[in-house]
Amino acid sequence: MPILAKLVGLASLVPFIIVLIKLFQQKGVLHGILGILCALYTFIWGWINANTLNI
């Protein structure tokens, strides 16, 4: 299980960076910092705004 968890974590790194850049651009520095500190927030924000961001 830890190997699977690590693989999922690694696979999510690239989308994490893409969404994090969008988060900084769209919502500003404070939300961007929160996105770094809490990756879950970054992904949820990206998921909710996927259509408007074209991602």
């Binding site: 968890a5 974590g9 690694l10 999510s12 790194l13 404070l30 500190l37 990756a39 909710i48």
Partner: protein, 141 residues
């Protein structure tokens, strides 16, 4: 820097519900001993991010193990408080949610508390890595 962050999350029911749902799912998986979603920064670099250890610390806090929770991550009470407010925002009606959001907005505007919390969390993470990085990594991995 924009002063208001948390109030905007509280005012958005969809976002509050999604964050609460994902957090509860993640905490539930971690509590049940299944693997939770692992941090991409930790998986890629081997270095824990500032939020690593927060899930287990929050669970320890919920079990009443305050000392253990604070050893794992000192911001567990803050996360628990934030999740409680987000849960309230998710279940409250539109008027009550707007009132709650407005109260938090005023507090954020006056004190910049969210920005200070995030900066303090960054400083806490830096200090943990600098002072005893190996123990920190062993604790959260």
């Amino acid at each position: 820097m924009n002063r208001v962050l948390f109030a905007s999350l509280l005012g958005d029911r969809k976002m509050a519900t999604a964050i609460c749902g994902a957090a509860l799912l993640h905490l539930g998986c971690t509590a049940a001993g299944h693997f939770g979603w692992s941090c991409p920064i930790l998986s890629a670099s081997g270095v824990p991010c500032p939020g690593c250890g927060l899930s287990r610390a929050t669970l320890a806090l919920l079990r009443g193990e305050v000392r253990h929770a604070l050893t794992l991550h000192a911001f567990a009470p803050v996360l628990l408080g934030a999740l409680t407010l987000l849960f309230a925002a998710a279940v409250l009606g539109p008027e009550a949610r707007q009132r709650l959001s407005e109260i938090i907005r005023k507090i954020e505007m006056r004190t910049r508390i969210t920005a200070w919390m995030l900066l303090t969390l960054l400083a806490y993470w830096t200090l943990r890595l600098a002072l005893d990085g190996r123990q920190f990594i062993a604790l959260v991995t």
